[in-house]
């Protein structure tokens, strides 16, 4: 098991290298001169030239990339922003935790409410409760977070004046963003839980357990749910990953100092070091999330655990495999 985890962490390295290289290439190919942008409109041509040399932009692209890489690997130095010259690492350190908190809490509450609803809907299949809840979930899945956020601000901040419309430090400030962002995870969790439970409940072994005389409650919660857990965990992991990357709109709306917003600005300003640093961070977090989900799999399902123990488990995570199959909540 440890071997598997280590191997996965090892596989992270080439992935991150490739990701960072791709992003670097993309942003680098952009029109727009970072030196110019850093100095502002009024800078003279000479000043821009000096700045370019200072930032190392005159060197070939590959050289620039490896220079950056060297700094990261050996000094943990992600460089500094072109314009503000603030250390990238510092900026990320200040902003990233907010995004993590936002995404984490949103998914957490989404799952907390969505999963029990899904279980109930599966048990009462085709009842009014089931149909009603699944329709609501479908709506929840369809309304984009930023639309919901705006509507909620309209209702709760502007009209009712109950909650603030920006910031992220107090509980009341966090309430709206988390609700807006958490609606989609909640809906998807509910649907995925329901469909996974339905598949499990149909299985023979559930019938065996009932034939033993076990109470329906235990059958559902203890046996069925445990078996249904894997796709649900995957969904949660994927949702978290998606939110980390995609929260920038919500952050913009609520003026939350998060990594998403930071990245948008960085990309607009062609601030290469910041873009790279940010993307690498996000990719790392997503990869670690996937790894954690896989470990959770092994804890739940003994067959998976056996696969991991034999070092032939391969280096691909279950979320990747499942993402590849395109499992969507029904």
């Amino acid at each position: 098991m440890i071997k598997y985890v280590l191997r996965r962490i090892l596989f992270l390295v080439p992935t991150l290298l490739l990701v960072s290289f791709c992003v670097y290439a993309i942003v680098h190919a952009a029109p727009g001169d970072p030196a110019q942008l850093a100095l502002g409109e009024g800078a003279t041509q000479a000043a821009v030239e000096v700045k370019r040399i200072e930032l190392g932009l005159d060197k070939p692209f590959i050289y620039q990339y490896f220079a950056w890489l060297k700094n990261v690997v050996f000094h943990f130095d992600f460089g500094s922003s072109y314009r503000s010259e603030i250390s990238v690492a510092y900026q990320i350190r200040s902003y990233f935790p907010n995004t993590l908190k936002l995404a984490g809490l949103s998914v957490f509450f989404g799952a907390l409410i969505g999963i029990p609803i899904g279980i109930l809907a599966s048990v009462k299949q085709s009842s009014w409760f089931d149909n009603f809840v699944m329709s609501i979930a479908m709506i929840g899945m369809s309304v984009p977070a930023f639309v919901l956020a705006l509507v909620m601000i309209l209702i709760f901040s502007v009209k009712l004046r109950w909650l603030p419309s920006s910031g992220f430090s107090t509980v009341s400030e966090m309430l709206l963003p988390i609700t807006a962002l958490g609606m989609q995870p909640m809906a998807i969790c509910a649907r995925m839980t329901r469909s996974s439970m339905l598949e499990v409940i149909r299985q023979d072994y559930i019938r065996t357990i009932r034939a033993k005389g076990q109470s329906e409650l235990k059958v559902i919660v203890h046996h069925a749910f445990k078996n249904a857990l894997m796709p649900i965990l995957t969904t949660i992991g994927l949702q978290f990953g998606a939110l980390i990357g995609g929260a920038f709109v919500t952050e913009t709306i609520f003026l939350i100092p998060g990594l998403g917003r930071l990245l948008v600005t960085a990309v607009t300003n062609r601030d290469y070091p910041l873009v790279l640093g940010g993307v690498v961070c996000v990719a790392t977090v997503v990869a670690i999330t996937n790894l954690l989900i896989d470990v959770a799999y092994a804890l739940v399902d003994p067959r998976v655990q056996a696969q991991f123990k034999n070092a032939g488990g391969g280096a691909f995570s279950w979320p990747t495999l499942i993402k590849r199959q395109g499992i969507k909540p029904k």
């Binding site: 085709s126 072994y205 034939a211 033993k212 005389g213 329906e216 445990k226 067959r303």
Partner: protein, 328 residues
């Protein structure tokens, strides 16, 4: 050795399912009696209604699709169909246990086999944790599995071993009746023999009555005392093993026996029973078998035959051989 006391009496059991094509009458007016310690064979093709009848005894029919359940199942003097859910839960596993057909999917994949046996014991007894564990281990040994494998998971066992675990589970609380739904169908022939041997031994040791559901007449010959032939949701012939094997009367039973290839006779074609099972949403009028019966007469399509007693506790649901205008 069977005592003569009645253990369970099913009276006019009828079960129907909902389907997109209409109501499926899976079991129609089925009646049978099982004595203590008796091994009762229930023989029929797939879709004849055997499993449905079995599931109705334990009342674990799929709730969503079941439309109606009527009749009486008298067990220990009480009608099981009238019992509350809570009471049924006490009976399941303790008085009546069930072994299902496919061992590969009968066990919970995420729990150890030991814990699954323990669960059964824990549900119906008041033993301490230690005692439960010991009892579970003992059951494993009884079915021929080393108790060291207590903490292994189902995926680590072969089909035959899994079925042994299921049998251990079923017997762990010493039930009075075991319903075995085609327990060996999904296994190799050699394993089949082992499992049957095991079941026979356990049956004698624990004096359990058993309903053996199967489509394999060989299994019936091996282990059953009494046999009922089920067709289209009804019992068409019923009697002791000797009676059914040597003096069967119903044309369907005759067809079943004739379709078994004789190893001593050179045969170029297998004998079959012409036709197919009737559509369970629209049964033929009169005798359900009449469209396929080689002895069919006019009366057969008009009136449903009663259960005739042809002696030696042998019942047949057919007009053949009666003095009424009918079949020869």
């Amino acid at each position: 050795m069977e005592s003569n006391r009645e253990l369970m009496k099913i009276k006019n059991l009828s079960v129907s399912y909902k389907s997109s094509n209409g109501t499926v009458h899976a079991v129609r007016n089925l009646s049978l009696t099982i004595k203590e310690g008796e091994t009762f064979g229930l023989v029929g093709e797939t879709g004849a209604g055997k499993t449905t009848a079995a599931l109705s005894i334990l009342r674990i029919l799929p709730e969503i699709s079941t439309e109606s359940l009527a009749g009486q199942i008298i067990f220990n003097g009480e009608d099981l169909l009238k019992k509350s859910r809570k009471e049924m839960r006490k009976i399941r596993g303790k008085d009546i246990a069930m072994i299902f057909q496919d061992p590969m999917t009968s066990l919970d994949p995420v729990n150890t086999i030991g814990s699954q046996i323990e669960e059964m014991i824990q549900l119906h007894t008041h033993l301490t944790k230690k005692e439960i564990r010991k009892a579970a281990e003992q059951m494993l040994e009884t079915v021929g599995i080393r108790k060291e494998r207590f903490s292994d998971y189902p995926y680590q066992f072969s089909g035959g071993m899994k079925q042994r675990v299921v049998i251990a589970m079923a017997l762990s609380c010493n039930p009075k009746l075991i319903i075995a739904d085609e327990p060996t169908t999904a296994l190799d022939v050699t394993i089949q023999a082992q499992i049957l041997e095991l079941m026979r031994g356990l049956k004698e040791k624990y004096k359990t009555a058993m309903i053996m559901i199967t489509h394999d007449l060989g299994v019936v010959a091996d282990i059953c005392d009494t046999v009922a032939i089920i067709y289209a949701g009804q019992i068409v012939e019923y009697g002791t093993v000797e009676e059914i094997f040597y003096s069967h009367q119903h044309p369907y039973t005759e067809g079943l026996f004739h379709s078994i290839p004789d190893i001593d006779v050179a045969q170029s074609k297998l004998k079959v029973i012409e036709g197919v099972l009737p559509d369970p949403t629209a049964f033929p009028s009169g005798c359900s078998f009449h469209p396929r019966c080689p002895y069919v007469k006019a009366k057969c399509s008009q009136i449903e035959p009663d259960n005739r007693n042809v002696g030696n506790n042998h019942f047949v649901k057919c007009f053949r051989g009666t003095s009424e205008e009918g079949c020869d």
